[in-house]
Structures are given as C-alpha cells and as structure tokens.
C-alpha cells in the first residue's frame, strides 16, 4: 500500500503547488474587489501558449520565458480591468461575472482562431531523479519551486511595499482607502493584473509537463474555484494551502477507487464547503 501511497502523494503535492498559484490569482482578485474572474481559465491557457511560443519560436528556456509570460499576464490583466471590469466594479455580481465571462469568450475565440483547438506540447524535459521508489521529474519539482518563490514574492510585495499595503487597504475597505487618498481604481487594476499574472504563470508551469489546448484552462479554472473555497475566498496564502490539499486529494483518491471519481468527490466537497463553511477551511482574508 505504501509503495503507491507515497509516490501518489508526492505527485499530487507537486502539482498542488501549481494549482495553488492559479487559485491564488483568483483569490486575490476576489479578495480585493469581490469579483469572480471567469476569464481565469483562458488566461491560464494563454500562459501555456506563451511558454510554447517562447520555447519553440524564440528558443527560450521555459523558466526564462516565464518572466516574459508573467509580465504579459500583468499587462493583459490591467487591460482587461480597464476595458471590462472597471465599469461594473460596483454593479451586482452578475455584471462582473458576465463581463469577465465575455472576456473569456473573446480570448477563447481569438485563441481558437490562432491556435485552433488542437493539442500542443512543449517538448522540454529536465530528466528525472530516483529517490527510493519515487521517480521525481525535475520539471515538476522546478514548477513547485517556482510556485513557492512566486508566493514568497507576492507576500513580500503585499506586506513590504507601499503599493502592496495600498492593495491590502483597498481590499479591507475600499471607501475608507479612497478617503485616505489611495487611488482605488489604479490599485484595483494592479490587483487584477497580479491576479491574471499568477494565472499566466501557473499556465506556463503546467505547459512544461502536460500537453494543452486553448480550452485547457477550463479544467484548471474549475480546480481553482474548488481551491479558493477550500482555502477561503480572498485569502491568497489559503489558496496555496488549498492547492496542496486538492493536489494530495487528486493523488490519493485514485489509490482507493477509480480515478474518474476524483472530480465527483472534488465538486461535492466544494458545494459542501460553500454550504457549511463559506469562509473556507482557513477563513477568509489574510
């Protein structure tokens, strides 16, 4: 039993870090502006294609390319915010849900026109290492490491810089922050940008080990919802923990039953947590 439990758990946890990054973006946006970003999935997919293009056309190392992808994600997010979200930031939830969903449609539409819905693959490998019975793929380890670094940087930014403090102030109470002279719409745009940047990074990391299509973000977006609820809506660090929980569940559940039951359990758990403990297992906010 142990022979399978340990490798499954390790596989799951390594993926969990990346899931966590994706969910962190969603969580941050929710925490700061109470918007559920339904364009999250397509942006994850764009991150994947960003790495693909940088790797195959520019011949860049994927991890180097990740910096480019992150920057592009940030800019794209700010753009999306001003075009689609800013106007409906105070409107009922439906408006922001649909506004971000229309962005989703636009990205998928353009993406399909360019990349079609066919699978792509970044042909990149770093080899593997055997530790006892476990074979670790370096790409997975590197992705988990990158996820930890990104989380660390995000927290340094949020807690050690002036802009980061402004973001937290706006998240805490937008009206009060505005009264204190914090330019809220710029802060919101930046937060949205950081949220999408995290999504793009997560997509980029996933692209280094799984094949993907322009539609591939959808599955990770749904996972992000589950994670965000596990970790507490609006709590970025909770998202990382939620990611690890989900990752280990995905690793361990197949040991005991058919793998196809994983999503059933995930989503039943998701609905259950929303009903019973909507603030998430770890509570909301930082």
């Amino acid at each position: 039993m142990f022979d399978i439990l340990i490798p499954s758990l390790v596989d799951g946890l390594l993926l969990g870090f990346v899931y966590g990054i994706a969910a962190m973006g969603l969580s941050l946006i929710w925490g700061v502006m109470n918007v559920i970003n339904l364009a999250h999935g397509p942006i994850i997919a764009l991150g994947m294609f960003g790495i693909y293009l940088a790797f195959t056309i520019l011949g860049l190392n994927p991890y180097l390319a990740l910096v480019l992808v992150a920057f592009a994600g940030l800019v794209l997010g700010i753009l999306i915010y001003y075009v689609a979200v800013n106007r409906v930031i105070d409107a009922p939830h439906l408006s922001s849900l649909l506004a971000t969903f229309s962005v989703n449609m636009i990205i998928i539409g353009i993406g399909t026109a360019i990349f079609t819905v066919s699978p792509y693959n970044v042909d990149f490998t770093l080899g593997a290492v055997d530790i006892g019975p476990i074979r670790l793929l370096w790409t997975r380890v590197a992705a988990a490491l990158a996820a930890v670094i990104v989380t660390g940087l995000l927290y340094l930014f949020l807690f050690r810089t002036r802009t980061g403090k402004n973001i937290r102030a706006v998240a805490n109470n937008r009206t009060a922050a505005e009264l204190m002279g914090i330019p809220s719409s710029r802060v919101l745009a930046l937060s949205f940008g950081i949220g999408t940047m995290l999504a793009a990074i997560a997509g980029g990391l996933i692209a280094t080990f799984f094949p993907f299509t322009i539609l591939a973000g959808g599955g990770y977006e749904l996972r992000s919802f589950v994670i965000v609820v596990l970790g507490g809506l609006g709590n970025p660090l909770g998202a990382l923990v939620g990611g690890l929980i989900l990752g280990s569940l995905e690793g361990i559940i197949p040991v005991f039953m058919q793998t196809s039951w994983v999503p059933v359990i995930e989503f039943v758990l998701f609905v259950f947590i929303i009903l019973v403990r909507p603030s998430g297992l770890l509570g909301s906010r930082v």
């Binding site: 939830h93 649909l98 229309s102 449609m105 539409g109 589950v226």
Partner: protein, 322 residues
C-alpha cells in the same frame, strides 16, 4: 379573456408561433432544424429567466436540469420502453424534485456564493453520471433506431419532436407571463431587488425562491429529452455542458432579464448568430469573439438588455413589450 388583450402576453407567443409555423408551411426539414435549435435556446432562456430575471439568482447550473431530465426520459424510453409523452412528464418532474431538494440547501446562499455552488453542482453532476453505469457511464446511452417506428418512422418522429418542442416553448412563455404578472412574481421581483427588505415586507423568501427554482427547473428537462431524443444519443459531456448554462445566461441578458419577451429575442438572436457563423470557416472562431464583444457591450452599456432598454427609452413601447 382579459389576458389575451395584453400585447405583452401575445406578442412573444405570436413571434414564437410564427417562427415555429414557418418550417411547417414550407414543409422543409432544413428550416425545421434551424428553428428547432432556436426553440431550444428560447425555451432554455425563458425558463432560466424565471430564476435569473425575476428572482435575481444567478444560476450556472440551469443545464443540470436539462441534463437530468434528458437522462431520466432517455432512460425511461430506451431501457423501460416508455412512450415519449410519459417520459416527457418524468423528464420535467424529476428535475423539479431535484430542484426542490437542492433549492432548500443552496438558495440560502447569496450572490457569488450561489453562483459558485451551482457551478459545483453542474460539475459534480457530470462527473457523477460519467461514473454511473445504469445511465451508461461515460459512453452514455443510445436509442435503438427502431424506436422511431413507434412514431411513424424517423421522419415523422422528427416532426413530432419539433411540434412538442414548439408546444413546450409556448407553454413556458405562458407560464413566464403568468409568473411575471402575478402576486408570486411580484414577490420574486421584490426578492431580486432587495431580499432583506422583501422579507421585512412579508415576502416569504425561502419558499418563494424554492418555488421559482422548481418552476424554472421543470421545463429544461423536457427540452433536454426532446433534444436528445432527436439526436438518439446522450453523453454526460453533452448533457451537462457548463458552457451551455453560461450561454443561456448570455441569451437572457442579451434580450433583457426579467422581461417575458427578452429571452425570446435573446435566445433567437444568439442562436441565429451562432448558426450563421457555425459553418463559415473564416468566421467560425469569430463567432465567440462577436458574441463576447456583444455581451460585454450589453453588460457595460445597456445592462437591461434589448427589451429593457427599449422599455426604458421608448415610452410608447412599455405597454407592448413586457
């Protein structure tokens, strides 16, 4: 009947009826298929409108009822040999009961939490059916072609399905109108505007919401059965497609949430646009972009939708467009 003198009542019905009779007059299967897909959209959008438009609850799980109803009816027809009429009734009732049970749990949630929960339910339902062998599991179920012979052969069966769909769509519109202009509907709209204030005024929100949810869940299942009966194949991925839920919301918003006519126009407009772009290779992908830009424009500039906007800006139309 006083109600028949109300243009707001007969206008949507006449529109759908005219559209619905066109393939019959021309006796053309191609036209029928075009209208068939429009009717599916109109029926889904109008039934969702009862929850989304009147009650103000954003459900991403409308298609759960479409899927469950379709599966129920499909199972009864293919495994139990039920006739389509009886199966249709069950295809409506089973989702309605499901909505009643679900509703008492999730309708307590407000705003985004409700929306998230409905997404979760849709995904859980699909994943579950994929694993549930009595309903065919991940490979779904197929109808034996001989079943069409019970209805006079395939050609006749397709026409029958079409008439049934047209009938169901018109019933939905009648129900939608009756709800909209009833005391019950007034209560729903009060909930939509401000649930706490509505409760203070005496609107029994939990039961009103549940009833609205049940009504809006009754019809998609029937539509689903007709849809999959026509295709003779049902698969979990097709029956519980989250994207279809979202498209339905888009249709409602496009036409105007909370109006009777809005979902008719929204459903027809969206579906026609889609159908046209579907087979145009150059524009196939642009379909999504066009729909996305359209939706964004509506959300940002005319959140009341086409009908809402017209009602607001053209006073004379208020009595006509409801």
């Amino acid at each position: 009947m006083k109600i028949l003198r109300k243009p707001g009542f007969w206008l949507p019905i006449m529109l759908v009826l005219l559209l619905g009779l066109w393939p019959v007059m021309t006796d053309n299967a191609a036209n029928r298929e075009v209208v068939n897909s429009i009717l599916v959209s109109v029926a889904l959008a109008s039934s969702l409108n009862i929850l989304l438009g009147y009650t103000g609850y954003v459900s991403f799980g409308h298609i759960v009822f479409f899927g469950f109803g379709a599966y129920t009816g499909f199972y009864l027809m293919s495994e139990q040999g039920w006739p389509i009429y009886a199966a249709m009734i069950m295809a409506g009732l089973v989702p309605a009961v499901l909505a009643y049970l679900l509703g008492s749990a999730i309708l307590r949630l407000r705003g985004a939490y409700f929306a998230l929960a409905t997404i979760g339910i849709n995904e859980a339902a699909r994943a579950f059916v994929k694993n549930f062998d009595p309903l065919g599991g991940s490979v779904g179920m197929q109808l034996n072609f001989q079943i069409y012979n019970d209805y006079g052969g395939a050609a006749q069966a397709l026409w029958l399905t079409y008439y049934l769909l047209l009938g169901v769509t018109i019933v939905i519109l009648i129900v939608s109108y009756l709800v909209r202009f009833s005391k019950f509907g007034l209560g729903l709209m009060a909930i939509r505007e401000n649930e706490d204030a509505a409760e203070v005024m005496g609107v029994v929100a939990p039961s009103a919401k549940t009833r609205a949810y049940v009504i809006s869940a009754f019809f998609p299942g029937i539509v689903g059965l007709l849809f999959f009966f026509k295709n003779a194949t049902i698969l979990p991925g097709d029956a519980f497609r989250l994207h279809l839920s979202i498209e339905t919301i888009v249709m409602v918003m496009l036409g105007g949430a909370g109006t009777v006519l809005g979902p008719v126009l929204g459903g027809a407009g969206y579906q026609r646009l889609r159908g046209t772009l579907l087979v145009t290779p150059l524009f196939r992908n642009v379909q999504l972009v066009v729909a996305g830009v359209l939706l964004l424009t509506i959300i940002l500039f005319i959140p009341a939708g086409v009908v809402g906007w017209l009602r607001y800006h053209v006073r004379g139309l208020r009595r006509v467009l409801e």
